[in-house]
Symmetry: D2
Subunit: 159 residues, 4 copies
């Protein structure tokens, strides 16, 4: 019964998703908390699914939010979202298993532009462009270390 | 003590905000639930503040989500967000009182484009453009009644 | 039209609620974000309404979360919830205006027990008992200052 | 590096958790969205982790929220939480992998009492007792089918 995007409820998935040729892919379930009274997922909750995709992409590249906050890079740092563009193309529903795809569209010394999709099976529900940066405690943008720029090479993935 | 955007904790505000010459204005508090471990408001929670502004703008124009859902217009209808562009310019913090400003940028027969700002005192924290529509239970877009188009006349407000 | 607990959409309310003889009362609106696909408010979102009531009760007694976090009391402090009991008696719906009532049931040197209700008009929707404490950065409970104990004298309010 | 409850970021987990001798176990990650400005998980967000545990326990027993809502049992039904008791014993943090354990404490014709724990590795963070029921569109409690009562036999698990 694949109506909710699951071939089998007993399927196992990598808890942090997987690195792919073009970026990162994560599977996640829609629960009660994600929905609203119109019967589908509340629009702002898609941003939480997108954030999970980005966080797990960073995680598999060796970047952990808790470590940045603990000062591992020399001072307390945090990732912040600067700008988002989001197209809500079709709704997700309770019990759906979603796939969150994340890749680098462009990276400069202090900004990264990520592209993201949320799909149910092969149906594209959400498209997003996200501009992010790393700031210190005073809100000042920090230059990305060379190895991050290496890890997040832009993909030429179309679309 | 105006540090959190409040001149006085005992200030009273219209619970649904107010209609203005150019659109609608609403004041709302930042609570624990809106923040994340980086110390400021979680980026997706700003969308909830924006939604409150749009819902109260509709409410003061006589449009109630519960009534649309109950079939007041002849069948079950719901407002949906089709697309958002959001600039996160500066962070809001716990205890802040925010002002959410909403106005119509453009309206057609089936789509409305709203512009929104979130401010703390006179500091602009968030800018957003929101494209919304009304759909029936099958997800089909519905034409806006003439009186809605009248109520949501575009403002020529710059910025 | 008082169906959603509002006598008038243009009503004004104190943004931080009001101190009463027995404690504190706050009015707050139910928006899209608070609901789930069953058509009513998602059970965990009532805890956000309850938290707003407690935070505003503290606020009107001169206790601000941001100041505690900034070290105003000599070190970084935070309020934490230790235990909750919640009865979900009847559901709240989109557009409802809710009243959150909060009072002190008992206070000791390091713990406060607050009782809370959420009502729509005179209908009781939620009852809660909340045990809270103040901790430092290492998680150690802190003794309440004498003036807090004075401010949060237990009410003998029945029920 | 097991500090966040993970032996390996590339670990795979059953997306709906697993049935156990005594009930159900689910693993889930803590993300940005789950935390608040005090640096740990926001208290109401633990209820979302608990709900995921209960929903997936039902799912593996063949009960799907979407199907109940679609009228599979003869009319539209929904699970509701009637009462919760929650002990917040220790905080979870960003990046943690949590284990949500759920089992039946007691079941009658119209009510089920579930016990739940949230752990990080072997440390118990949350304990909860949850009373739930199934209601129809008018809010009336429904008798559980015999096969549900069979599926949710109480466990004599201590604690």
């Amino acid at each position: 019964m694949a109506v909710h995007g699951e071939s089998d409820v007993e399927v196992s998935v990598p808890i942090s998703g997987s690195l792919t040729e073009w970026g990162h892919s994560l599977q996640a379930r829609v629960y009660f908390a994600d929905t609203d009274f119109s019967g589908v997922v509340y629009h702002a909750r898609y941003l939480e699914f997108l954030e999970r995709g980005r966080s797990d992409y960073l995680r598999l590249a060796g970047i952990h939010h808790a470590e940045l906050d603990d000062g591992k890079m020399g001072k307390r740092l945090a990732w912040v979202v600067r700008r988002m563009e989001i197209d809500f193309r079709a709704p997700a529903r309770i019990d759906d298993i979603l796939t969150v795809e994340t890749w680098t569209a462009r990276i400069s010394g202090v900004r990264i532009f990520m592209a993201q999709k949320i799909l149910r099976n092969d149906v594209e529900l959400i498209r997003a462009q996200v501009e992010a940066a790393v700031i210190d405690e005073r809100g000042r943008p920090q230059r990305f270390p060379a190895e991050w720029i290496e890890s997040f090479k832009p993909s030429d993935r179309s679309g």
